[in-house]
């Protein structure tokens, strides 16, 4: 069959006439996105500027909900704890994920088996795994509690001590995030040709140098996606924190997402919940922008 080829300009020229049709085809999707994605966000924003009494009377209060939260000691603690949660989770699980990903991409016996069981923490429902963790740190019969007692020589009621309660939440989150991060990074690392590493070895690069000059730059896009996903998941995580500590002792583990849940669904203050939602969105956006900037800068 004779081959005919179109030049790019010819293709563009032929498509230009069909632009209105293309927009018409896109319209349903755009409408759906506007309806399901943007309208709830606008509705949340609108709610955050209002105050609804329990009897259902709504009045416009401007930025008063924001003023209240930003001047509140409890909210500042919620924000700090959310940031701490994200930073500790990523700070610990990311290096571990690179190590485990490099092991998984090596041709070793049992790799396939490990690749499958690695996903187990990810498959378990967060509330279920939180309850498992709660039993593990139980002061009477929990193995982690007993281990800590052996190490420190003191009995610790882990969920009743602010430091250990937060540490338990972070540890649980690392346990859950690690498989996802590992598999994603392993996928990226598997795409790097082995010849690159062999060439680097010939040039005298050690494992650390190979990681810095080859693995990290060549898995940047995977890293960005992993960072974004885990950051947003961690920021929005209310269920595991609630199941583990309910934000206690005191407010010492009450992260922003949990506060949002409590205000909206326990205290039934949907306006304050919406305000917290918008602030949480802003924190998430700040993370997104900074990750994108860092990646773009390094690419330049």
């Amino acid at each position: 069959m004779p081959k005919r080829s179109y030049s790019n300009t010819a293709m563009v020229r032929s498509l230009r006439g069909s632009e209105p049709i293309a927009y018409a085809f896109l319209a349903p999707t755009l409408l759906l996105i506007a309806f399901f994605l943007i309208s709830p966000m606008l509705s949340g924003l609108f709610m955050s500027f209002n105050k609804t009494s329990l009897s259902g009377l709504t009045r416009f209060v401007g930025l008063r909900n924001y003023q209240f939260l930003l001047s509140e000691e409890r909210f500042l603690s919620n924000l700090q704890l959310s940031l701490l949660y994200v930073v500790c989770n990523l700070g610990i699980s990311l290096p571990l994920a690179y190590v485990s990903a490099s092991l998984l991409t090596r041709k070793m016996r049992g790799t396939v088996f490990f690749r499958s069981i690695f996903l187990l923490p990810w498959i378990v429902a967060p509330v279920v795994s939180s309850l498992l963790f709660r039993s593990m740190v139980d002061p009477a019969f929990g193995p982690l509690g007993m281990l800590l007692e052996k190490i420190t020589g003191q009995q610790h009621v882990m969920l009743a001590e602010p430091f250990w309660a937060m540490a338990t939440i972070i540890f649980h989150s690392i346990w859950r995030s690690l498989p996802f991060m590992t598999l994603f990074l392993a996928a990226g690392m598997a795409m790097i040709p082995r010849e690159f590493y062999e060439a680097a070895k010939v040039d005298g690069a050690g494992p650390w140098k190979q990681f810095c000059t080859l693995t990290l730059p060549l898995t940047k896009i995977h890293l960005l996606i992993v960072l974004l996903t885990i950051t947003l998941w961690t920021l929005q995580d209310a269920e595991t924190v609630y199941a583990l500590t309910e934000g206690g002792p005191g407010y010492s583990t009450e992260v922003m997402a949990l506060r949002l849940f409590k205000e909206s669904f326990i205290n039934f203050d949907l306006n304050r919940g919406a305000t917290l939602g918008i602030l949480l969105l802003l924190v998430g956006l700040a993370f997104m922008i900074s990750y994108a900037r860092i990646t773009a800068k390094e690419q330049d």
């Binding site: 329990l54 259902g56 009477a140 882990m158 009743a160 206690g248 002792p249 005191g250 326990i266 205290n267």
Partner: protein, 463 residues
């Protein structure tokens, strides 16, 4: 070399456009479309011949859950006999979400008919307006009402002259103790403590290191201090009332838990852990069930403060009492005994599930009839969620004249409900959090309570 995919794309571009072909659907896809359309239509069509009963559902409650489900099914069957033309749809909800769901659904225009509600939250329901007055529906005579009005919870159900809920039963709390442990330390198992000082003295004797490793194996007194509203309801409030204070003032509509009595209550509770060392620190974490129910049955605590009437079945199952669940004239205590919490009278917390009718119901009268069917006293005794009887005449039956049930009767009669604030959960949360801060961070009781009280009042004073 061209990539095979690229070749295919070019071929698609260059080929003459074929005549548009109709997409062929497989037979099963028609079936799926039909089912989806039918289910969509059935969702959008209001069911005018079916009553919806929204009730609590706790699948993890073991045998108690099975009994609750059986009771619901029996009552539905009894109602169907009375009104065969009306079906009943059951809607299940978690105990701590049912009230918020009811209110949120009301705001969203989603109707329910009969709903179970919490008396502590009836004041909030009253402000939201999602429940209707039951008086015109029940149309009771004074004698019928007096069957229920002896229960202190009755006041909680009546707000602004409206009857928003009918108590299904009565739940209250007492102290439970291990008679065998009393014997082991030389205490008379038939003479439980009667004052707070005696309680502390007994608890000190009962706190023991059994294996000599320097660690306490049995704690004298279990009191719950975890991060939930149970801390406020069960541990703090009885002591606050005992010392003459109240958490919320009905006239000024302000929180008052940081009063002198509140400080005394907190200091008493803190001393149990740090001064007398009779209560374990792990009471600060976990759930109310873990700290009181399981710890007592596992013999980690000798006396349990705040033992609920919903746990009578658990004692019976463990063989620690006999003939109490279901109640019989032979009811007796074996390994476990109970006594009234040694605070002044009117210091027990009393509540129960209440039955209400949703404002958006299309069937208020039939909902009222259904409530009357649900309140049938003989069958209510078979539902663990309903608790102890709320009708006075039932308490006069021989099976409730045993010493075991007389303690419970006294506890209900002299009990107190929670304050009727529309922000009860926030109030309970503020106190529980303050208490945890004081216990964990060892902050001064007075200033911490005042700080939390001020925060609460800044948001909710005056309601």
């Amino acid at each position: 070399m061209n990539h095979p995919l690229a070749c295919r794309r070019t071929a698609r571009l260059t080929a003459t456009a074929p005549a548009p072909s109709i997409v062929r659907l497989r037979p099963w896809s028609y079936l799926v479309a039909l089912i989806l359309t039918a289910s969509f239509c059935s969702c959008t069509q209001p069911k005018h011949d079916r009553l919806r009963f929204t009730h609590v559902f706790d699948a993890l409650a073991g045998p108690q859950h099975a009994l609750n489900v059986e009771w619901v099914n029996n009552r539905v069957a009894a109602f169907r006999k009375l009104a065969p033309q009306i079906g009943v749809d059951l809607e299940q909800c978690k105990w701590d979400a049912i009230d918020t769901k009811c209110m949120a659904d009301f705001r969203s225009g989603i109707a329910h008919d009969v709903v179970m509600s919490s008396p502590q939250l009836l004041a909030k329901h009253n402000l939201v307006g999602d429940l209707i007055d039951l008086q015109p529906l029940l149309n009771w005579k004074r004698e019928e009402e007096s069957e229920f009005s002896w229960n202190p919870m009755w006041q909680t159900c009546r707000l602004d002259g409206k009857l928003l809920g009918m108590p299904m039963g009565a739940h209250t709390r007492v102290c439970v103790y291990n008679k065998e442990m009393f014997r082991q330390v030389g205490l008379d198992p038939e003479q439980p403590p009667r004052t707070l000082q005696e309680l502390v003295d007994y608890a000190r004797k009962l706190t023991r290191d059994l294996d000599g490793d320097g660690k306490t194996d049995v704690w004298g007194l279990g009191v719950y201090f975890g991060p939930s509203r149970a801390t406020f309801e069960i541990s703090f409030s009885p002591l606050l009332w005992h010392f003459g204070g109240k958490a919320w003032d009905e006239e000024t509509k302000q929180a008052t838990f940081a009063c002198e009595a509140g400080v005394k209550a907190v200091e008493f509770l803190r001393d149990l852990i740090y001064k007398y060392k009779v209560t374990p620190r792990w009471a600060l974490s976990g759930t109310y069930d873990d700290v009181i129910l399981r710890s007592f049955l596992n013999e980690k605590i000798a006396i349990g403060w705040g033992w609920g009437s919903y746990w009578i079945q658990a004692l019976e199952d463990a063989g620690w009492i006999d003939g109490c669940s279901p109640p019989t004239t032979e009811a007796r205590t074996l390994r476990a005994g109970i006594f009234l919490t040694p605070t002044s009278t009117h210091s027990q917390f009393v509540n129960s599930w209440t039955l209400s009718v949703h404002t958006l119901t299309a069937w208020p009268d039939i909902s009222g009839q259904f409530i009357q069917v649900l309140l049938e006293p003989n069958d209510l005794l078979k539902s663990p969620d309903a608790g102890l009887p709320s009708q006075l005449s039932v308490w006069q039956r021989p099976e409730f004249q045993t010493p075991f049930f007389q303690v419970w009767f006294e506890a209900i009669k002299t009990g107190r409900p929670m304050p009727p604030t529309g922000h009860f959960e926030e109030l309970a949360q503020s106190v529980s959090t303050a208490l945890q801060e004081i216990m964990v961070k060892n902050t001064p009781a007075t200033t911490t309570l005042q700080k939390f009280q001020q925060d609460y009042n800044n948001r909710y004073a005056g309601e």
